[in-house]
Assembly symmetry: D3
Homo-oligomer: 69 residues x 6
């Protein structure tokens, strides 16, 4: 499957915090820095997301803002 979302950054999961409906997944990017994702708990279970797993963080370009100093 190829996805239209332009941003697909490789990394490794460093933390998963499970709520009732949603879960927070922390991803250490291969290039440095980290990204936090909030997805459903069911997706965490369906995809077998756990600490140490290699993943990609995926973001649609219309969801990326730009900040300047």
């Amino acid at each position: 499957m190829k996805l239209s979302a332009r941003n697909q950054l490789p990394g490794k999961v460093t933390a998963v915090n499970m709520g009732v409906v949603t879960a927070e997944v922390v991803i250490a990017l291969d290039g440095g820095g980290e990204l936090v994702s909030v997805i459903t708990k069911t997706s965490v279970e369906n995809l077998g997301i756990a600490v140490g797993k290699k993943v990609h963080a995926v973001v649609k370009s219309t969801e990326v803002m730009v900040a300047v100093d």
Copy 2:
């Protein structure tokens, strides 16, 4: 200003493609990899976004998906 958005990655603008309403901004992340952002043309002008400018790419955590192989 401190913002609730958890993801704020430093980088440098490598391309700006101006449309009529929106504009596409390509950011080379300091850690490697790039992010593409679609914001309004007015924001590009208001913030003086141009090739070479240091910026942060900012993403709300509810907008980050996770992909596995």
Copy 3:
């Protein structure tokens, strides 16, 4: 690639309207009804999206609202 986005509906592209930065893609769902997507023009080109192509419309669950009469 398996993606955390819970909503992945099969369909066929019935129209593509290209702008300068973004493009509008209309998808007739296999189950009936249609979905309109706005993605970057570059993604349309990268994925070879054109009228008649079989695709999936993909939506993160946090982006789906519910309406009642």
Copy 4:
């Protein structure tokens, strides 16, 4: 009320999973397939969303991605 969101698909609620802040609502689309929505628990209560209720799933077109094989 008419809404600018282009995607408004009719269906029926098949499951509601209540969390503390958010809730997950599963909608069987009239045309087949299902959509999962994450909205606030308060919205579920305000709109009387429950299993069996007829609803529309509503998605802004900028939130729809496209995937190809």
Copy 5:
């Protein structure tokens, strides 16, 4: 139609800037301040959005960030 989106602020359209695919709509809120919306040009036409028209700006709560000084 009642919508799950918690944020529905009344206002009046003060500017419409039409692009090829998208359009920018500026709304002066009844309470003061303004909101800028980017929707499809087709939605602007379908809903008859024009300067002076009374509208509501609608935002899903998961799309609202919080900033502090």
Copy 6:
């Protein structure tokens, strides 16, 4: 920091409802009306968001829909 998000409305926090992963923040806008935000519990803690605090509600323009009667 200056942010590309066009919508930054001043207000005061009137309620915070903490979940496991996410939290709901209600903001009374200075101009009247209120906005509800869902952000992570960690952001609420990091920014010291509490009832009575002055904040800005921030929304990217691509996330704002328009409704007409």
